[in-house]
């Protein structure tokens, strides 16, 4: 909650007292008018990146993953880095929509829909990588424990299998959550649509929503239940991703703090990405009164907090590596900070721990250009965090004779670019066809929308 200077009154979540009609118009406008030039440019770039990625994916399929820079001992590289990076990005959505909903943080309203959509696209992007990393993605069906004539069965004690369960559950629930929230809004769009085809499509998607008391009552119950189900998923998905590393006996991977450290990092990177895109979107679509500076400031506070958490984890790892007295463990950490990949380690520390400290200052938290620069650094830093964890732990393992450096191939870089293209192509389509802020929820938090049961002593809206 934000308060005014006397801490007695909450600040409104939506600036300017908008009428319901104005809200409908403001949010639906981008979906109604013909896409602007800027949208086409953005779409063109994203789609080109997607095509480059598709080409590299084709090469990978045809020639195999030998096209990548992976070698021995660095047998996990860009594929897994990108997987963990994108899964992490996908965490902000569920945190905002589920946990903040359960904790009654009303400010989530302005950003929840958008973050949820991002979650879904990010998880889709992430899912590609482990599948192609298997080398024979056309056999991916065997990842599921389905009885088959070959008697091939999954390895239940492998965290890689738990990933299959965790990520697919996460995707399913996030998708349900997101589409449930969309129903009332799609109904609004259906009612506003004039053109026949468009109206029919929205009509089908709105599932006959009538806006009756009964519909709302069922809707809110379902929303609460899904929020409850999603909450453990925020923790479980990235915990299990961290298990991929931490259950091993590789120095630098096997450390008990990994699960909460990964979850904090995921939320950190997710909020970084949400902020990055929101700052552009609110400007382009003229939604500065709906996605306000207060929203961005709160997100910056979360970034600061989660950035400190990953900072804590970095220092604990370093300290315990020394404290344990284990030579291998110590070597890995010294190698991270001073070895051939030291540049990536210090990039990670600078972007994730040092730069976010600027968010201590209110002026900076509320300064949009600076925030934009800082969140870009967060995105970069979190990609490098996975790079550091994966590459530096592997490239110099127990046997100095087998040490090697990892250099990404062009196909690796093309796939990384392609993953951004994939993500942004979906995101731009979402911005064009669906309301990016929940219209129904927003109407409930505008000034004057609340029933005035007790008149407020300070003469405001009676909200308590």
């Amino acid at each position: 909650m934000s308060f005014d200077a006397t801490y007695a009154r909450e600040l409104p979540l939506v600036e300017s007292k908008a009428s319901f009609r104005e809200i409908d118009d403001a949010i639906i406008k981008p979906t109604e008018e013909k896409p602007r030039k800027g949208w086409w440019v953005a779409f063109g770039i994203s789609f080109t990146a997607l095509m480059i990625g598709a080409y590299c994916l084709g090469l990978t399929f045809y020639y195999g993953i030998g096209m990548w820079g992976n070698n021995q001992p660095v047998s996990w590289a860009f594929g897994i880095i990108n997987f963990v990076f994108w899964i992490g990005i996908g965490h902000a959505g569920t945190l905002i929509s589920a946990i903040l909903h359960l904790f009654r943080q009303k400010w989530r309203t302005g950003i929840a829909r958008f973050a949820e959509a991002m979650t879904i696209f990010a998880v889709m992007t992430a899912g590609i990588f482990p599948v192609i990393h298997t080398g024979r993605p056309w056999l991916a069906g065997y990842l599921l424990p389905l009885p088959n004539q070959n008697g091939v069965w999954v390895n239940f004690i492998s965290p890689l299998l738990w990933d299959v369960f965790a990520v697919s559950t996460y995707f399913t629930i996030s998708f349900l959550f997101w589409s449930l929230g969309l129903i009332p809004d799609i109904a609004t769009m259906r009612d506003k649509a004039k053109n026949g085809v468009k109206k029919t499509i929205y009509k089908v998607l709105a599932l006959g929503w009538s806006g009756s008391n009964r519909s709302w009552s069922n809707y809110e119950r379902a929303y609460l239940i899904l929020a409850g189900i999603s909450t453990p998923l925020v923790l479980s998905v990235h915990s299990i991703v961290s298990f991929d590393f931490a259950v091993s006996v590789i120095p630098g991977w096997h450390t008990t703090i990994f699960p909460p450290y990964f979850v904090a990092g995921a939320i950190f990177s997710g909020f970084g990405m949400v902020s990055t895109i929101l700052i552009i979107v609110r400007k382009v679509f003229g939604m500065e009164h709906i996605i306000t500076v207060n929203h961005l400031e709160k997100m910056n506070k979360i970034l600061l907090a989660t950035g400190m958490m990953v900072g804590y984890a970095y220092s604990m790892e370093f300290f315990i590596a020394w404290y344990s007295g284990n030579t291998f463990e110590m070597f890995v950490f010294i190698n991270r900070a001073m070895g051939p990949y030291a540049w990536s380690y210090w990039t990670m520390i600078t972007c994730n721990v040092i730069l976010p400290q600027l968010f201590w200052f209110k002026k900076i938290r509320r300064n949009i250009p600076i925030t934009f620069v800082l969140v870009i650094f967060v995105n970069v830093g979190m990609w490098f965090e996975r790079f550091v964890i994966i590459i530096t732990s592997l490239h110099r393992d127990f046997l100095p004779a087998s040490w090697a450096m990892f250099y990404p191939s062009l196909v690796d870089l093309g796939l990384l670019l392609g993953s951004f293209g994939f993500f942004f192509t979906f995101l731009l389509l979402f911005l064009k066809f669906l309301p990016l802020v929940s219209i129904a929820e927003l109407k409930a938090v505008v000034e004057g929308a609340q029933p005035t049961i007790h008149p407020h002593p300070n003469g405001s809206n009676g909200k308590h």
Binding site: F3, Y7, A246, V247, T256, I257, P260, I320
Partner: protein, 390 residues
């Protein structure tokens, strides 16, 4: 708002004194009969008092930081409980005396034969240990006085600027709290088995402190409110937050505990697993299984329904339950170093528990009779009293 200050009934004081007195007698006996065991019990009790005292201060800071309003009417409760902090400075002295009984690494001759200990010596040496202990206590003391004095000044001046000041201090304390609680966990508990290490250990203890101090606040809040010491507007809406957060903190504890255990079990490296093996020896197996059931499963099931979260009766029971299992958890962390073949619980342990509980009650009563039970000058109070769900 109108607030009439009432002193707590005399039976609170009597109970506190009775427990405290009985505790002191048993503690003296314990030291006379078996000082080695008594020192371990003492450490166990000290860690519990740290959990409640410092955890409560962290809750105060958390309220300022999060801008929460629902908890403002109850903030004084955590402030009273945090008043244990000044006593920690005195209570730590017997532990310093018993260093050699408790911590094996303090034995100089161990350095000769143990290369691992030698490598840790820059951290695990007595001088640096005392320095850290002093530093940690100093930080707790400073922030205790800052928060409490600003909060009490506000009762008279009603100045919102004091809230602003405390928010500033909270940001600093939030970081220092995590650092100090980690140091405390490593120094006083992890170093009992100085070969063992876990990056999660600080977080594990942190989860326990937050949960137990929150449970203590819940118990006091419900008791005081039921007996009309707070405000009659406080009801289900505020209770619900207590229930939810107790539920959430407990899950967080379980998540941290599970992750730590699972990763050690799975990797199966002897230098880490021995710590778990110690807790699987003889009757400790049952104790460890009991920890999972008593600390996680039962509260998880009982606190899950919405109705449970607003039931004052159940909240009281669960709060006491969680305080008890925090004792249990600390016992699990500390005592296997002393009771190597199986756990024991006798009058000595009981005495230390009685002392801890008696001390908390007494401190609470003294503070509660001196200071307003609700922060009457807090600008967020009105919003907190009128707090509604949804």
């Amino acid at each position: 708002m109108e607030y009439q200050k009432k002193p707590l009934p005399s039976k609170v004081g009597t109970t506190g004194f009775a427990l405290l007195g009985a505790g002191i007698v048993l503690i003296i006996l314990a030291f006379a009969v078996n000082p080695h065991r008594a020192f371990f019990d003492y450490l166990w009790m000290y860690m519990f008092l740290v959990s409640i005292g410092v955890g409560s201060l962290a809750l105060v800071a958390l309220e300022y930081l999060a801008g929460a309003t629902w908890s403002t009417p109850f903030r004084r409760i955590s402030e009273f409980l945090a008043s244990i902090i000044p006593l920690l400075v005195i209570l730590v002295i017997p532990l310093i005396i018993g260093m050699h009984d408790i911590f094996h690494w303090t034995h100089k001759e161990m350095l000769e034969t143990d290369p691992l200990l030698r490598s840790k010596e820059p951290y695990l040496n007595e001088n640096f240990f005392y320095f850290r202990t002093g530093f940690v206590l100093l930080i707790w003391l400073i922030f205790f006085y800052l928060f409490i004095s600003n909060s009490q000044k506000q009762d008279i001046s009603k100045d919102p600027l004091l809230t602003k000041k405390n928010i500033r201090f909270s940001t600093i304390f939030a970081i220092l709290f995590i650092v100090t609680i980690t140091i405390t966990a490593i120094d006083w508990m992890m170093s009992l088995e100085y070969h063992w290490f876990s990056t999660m250990f600080g977080v594990y203890y942190f989860a326990g402190t937050l949960l137990s101090s929150f449970a203590a606040a819940t118990f006091c809040a419900v008791m005081l409110n039921e007996n009309g010491y707070l405000d009659k507007r406080i009801g289900n809406n505020n209770y619900y937050s207590f229930g939810t957060l107790m539920f959430a903190f407990n899950i967080f504890w379980a998540y941290i505990g599970f992750s730590q255990y699972m990763l050690i079990w799975y990797a199966d490296i002897p230098e880490e697993t021995f710590w778990i093996m110690m807790r699987m020896k003889g009757s400790w197996t049952y104790f460890s299984v009991g920890l999972v059931i008593l600390h996680f499963v039962i509260p998880f099931i009982l606190l899950m329904p919405r109705s449970a979260k607003v039931s004052p009766k159940l909240l009281k029971i669960m709060a006491v339950w969680i305080l008890a299992v925090h004792f249990y958890d600390l016992y699990w962390m500390i005592m296997p170093t002393y009771f190597k073949d199986g756990f024991e619980f006798g009058w000595s342990e009981l005495g230390f528990m009685m002392f801890a509980v008696g001390l908390i009650i007494t401190v609470f009563r003294i503070r509660a009779n001196k200071v307003n039970m609700i922060p009457v000058g807090d600008p967020k109070l009105e919003a907190g009293l009128k707090f509604h769900l949804n």
